[in-house]
């Protein structure tokens, strides 16, 4: 099973039980920051008439996994994108590159690590929903198999089309995410990026990186070839010059 969280913004009442559960589950300081930080991995933001949860989207082809030079991030087959702090060198490419602005840094520490929602992998492995989904009193945050959650979301769209924007956010964005969002307000109004490509972002860099072996082989041959030609030319010229010098010397004698 590939787990996914479905967040239905129309059901969210902004009680922040999910935030509190997340804090407790992950031993984070109790104070809730208004935005995502290294110490607050999910927030409920009031936006006009609706609430929107912010958290790691757990992409199917995550940008953070691709950019990290030391493979500190990995995508689990059952959904979560995990972070191994013991590998991290602190280059912050993940923070810079994440299209959802999720990984956060411990800016207040001398030896900081990156932090983000990890979708309670131990709970998922035990067959339970992540802490946030398990405490939600209204069913705004639910958890289940990704395909089933997509079907469930589409069922809701079909049942009450007037209630929703006719799209499930996260099905196709940057190759799909393991957090799916339904909303009555436009996604842009909720502060979600609507300009993201459907193809996973790592494709953009892989297109270039995959050409490296070609550059090495072709470049090496080309450079060696140029050297071979120019060097030979110099040698021939030197030999001719020597020959000419030898002749003129012998003539002088």
């Amino acid at each position: 099973m590939k787990g996914a969280i479905l967040f239905d913004s129309t059901k969210c009442i902004g009680c922040e039980a999910c935030v509190a559960a997340c804090k407790e589950k992950n031993n984070l300081p109790a104070a809730i920051d208004p935005k995502l930080t290294a110490y607050t991995w999910t927030v409920v933001e009031p936006r006009n008439t609706a609430f929107i949860r912010r958290m790691c989207m757990h992409c199917e082809t995550p940008t953070c996994v691709s950019v990290c030079p030391v493979q500190a991030f990995r995508k689990e087959p059952n959904g979560p994108v995990l972070y191994d702090a013991s590998r991290c060198i602190g280059c912050r490419y993940c923070i810079m590159a994440c299209p959802f602005g999720v990984p956060k840094y411990q800016w207040d520490r001398a030896v900081p690590i990156v932090q983000k929602c990890i979708m309670c992998p131990d709970r998922i492995a035990a067959g339970k929903a992540p802490a946030c989904a398990s405490v939600c009193p209204t069913g705004a945050t639910t958890f289940g198999d990704r395909d089933q959650m997509i079907r469930e979301a589409r069922t809701r769209l079909a049942a009450t089309p007037k209630k929703y924007v006719p799209q499930v956010y996260g099905v196709e964005e940057v190759g799909g995410t393991s957090v799916l969002i339904l909303s009555s307000a436009s996604f842009a109004d909720l502060g979600l990026r609507t300009d993201l490509p459907r193809a996973p972002l790592p494709m953009l860099t892989w297109q270039v990186l995959s050409k490296i072996p070609d550059v090495v082989v072709v470049g090496g041959a080309l450079l060696y070839g140029i050297w071979w030609i120019t060097n030979r030319r110099t040698k021939v010229q030197e030999a001719l010059a020597e020959e000419a010098a030898g002749k003129s010397e012998s003539r002088q004698r």
Binding site: R92, A97, A110, V216
Partner: protein
């Protein structure tokens, strides 16, 4: 040694003072950076995680050191031996440039003590991983390319001969590694199409970074020769530097055309607004750093004069620095939702590192055979080369005829 006697120091004392101030400020900032952390020392944030140290120390530092692979390729691969005299100062500049980058990175990384992780924990899908490996390997190549100078100074004939024997493969490896990571620094930004402003985001970023680095690397050779002339009372070898100016016109033109063509094709020029922030910075970058130097350097009467050539080169370097900072800072600000300006500590550390680079360059010139006499005729010189260097100005016109003598073989071969 005539070089180290008193006469020059009083003139240099202003710069010594500047150096000491920068080192002092940099030391304070260093202590704060490593005791209080990045949040206290920098103006970086979750919204703006990469700032001056990435934009200037890394992106700019690597690019300005590109003269190293360009000039070695010109001399060893293209066999244009008359440029041999500028190899040593250029390789020295490149080597120091890469050390500058690595030191800068040690400040920027949150966990610098784990920098070795990139050696054992591979992620071949990461541009950063590739850059890390290339920078590391190329720094090794540069240290090998630089080593004959040290061997010569220490009269170690055997190791010097070994390095000389592998010089061509070494240069080829260096050129390939440089091509890869110079362009990859641009590829770092390919993954943020939704964040980097369309005036700078392009699928061609790696090509732009590579081409502009060649121009900037060549410009740095001229700038560095000019600074040496000021510091060590050398004369500029205009006969060697003027052709570099010409090459810069070609490279910059290719770069400029690629940039404008790409902008036009992507329709990004329609988004160019004057006087908005990005538009102004873009026009300054292209106008001052690309178009103006092309104009100046394309005119033989300007390129052929020392002030003209040096001005052109300075503009190219300026334009290059602006480009890298525009990509890494200006172009990223709007999407981040915050504005970023470096803290005094970020400036202090970058400047102290630059000052350190200058100081080491000065020391190297003083104690190692960097300038032509040492290269051209190490065997002919009676005295050890480093003694010969100071008494005869390296870039003196008098030295040039011997230097550009056809058929003369480079001593480093």
């Amino acid at each position: 040694m005539t070089m180290t006697n008193g006469r020059r120091w009083p003139e240099m004392s202003f710069w010594r003072l500047v150096f000491l101030v920068l080192v002092a400020a940099g030391s304070v900032a260093t202590i704060l950076r490593f005791t209080r952390g990045l949040g206290a020392a920098t103006n970086l944030s979750d919204q703006f995680p990469w700032g001056l140290w990435i934009g200037f120390d890394v992106l700019t530092g690597v690019g300005l050191a590109a003269g190293g692979f360009t000039i070695t390729a010109v001399v060893y691969i293209f066999n244009l031996k008359r440029f041999t005299p500028i190899i040593r100062p250029t390789v020295l500049t490149a080597f120091l440039g890469y050390l500058f980058v690595i030191f800068g990175l040690m400040y920027d990384l949150g966990q610098p003590h784990r920098i070795w992780h990139a050696l054992v924990m591979w992620n071949p899908r990461s541009v950063m991983f590739e850059v890390a490996w290339c920078v590391m390997l190329y720094t090794t190549v540069l240290s090998l390319e630089f080593s004959p100078i040290v061997f010569e100074r220490l009269n170690l004939e055997r190791p010097r001969r070994i390095v000389r024997a592998i010089s061509v493969p070494l240069v080829i490896v260096g050129v390939i590694l440089s091509t890869l990571h110079q362009s990859s620094l641009g590829s770092l930004y390919l993954i943020v199409p939704e964040k980097l402003h369309p005036l700078w985001y392009s699928p061609l970023l790696p090509v732009f970074f590579f081409t502009s680095a060649i121009a900037a690397g060549l410009a740095m050779v001229i700038v560095e020769s000019y600074l040496c002339q000021r510091a060590f009372k050398h004369h500029l070898a205009m006969d060697l530097l003027e052709p570099l100016g010409r090459a810069m016109v070609v490279v910059l033109s290719v770069y400029g055309i690629l940039r404008l063509q790409d902008l036009a094709r992507r329709g990004a020029l329609a988004g160019l607004r004057w006087p908005d922030y990005e538009g102004t910075m873009f026009l300054l970058e292209i106008g001052l750093g690309v178009l103006l130097p092309i104009l100046l350097l394309a005119i033989p009467r300007i390129r052929g004069t020392q002030p003209g050539l040096v001005t052109g080169a300075f503009l190219v370097v300026l334009g290059f620095v602006m480009n890298r900072l525009n990509v890494s800072v200006t172009g990223m600000e709007r999407a981040s939702g915050v504005s970023y300006f470096p803290s005094w500590m970020e400036f202090a550390i970058s400047l102290a590192l630059v000052a350190g680079g200058f100081a080491i360059f000065g020391l190297a010139v003083r104690y190692l055979p960097i300038f032509p006499q040492g290269i051209r005729a190490p065997r002919e010189a009676e005295a050890p080369a480093w003694l010969v260097v100071p008494s005869t100005p390296a870039f003196a016109p008098g030295a040039s005829p011997a230097v550009s003598q056809p058929g003369a073989r480079g001593g480093t071969r």
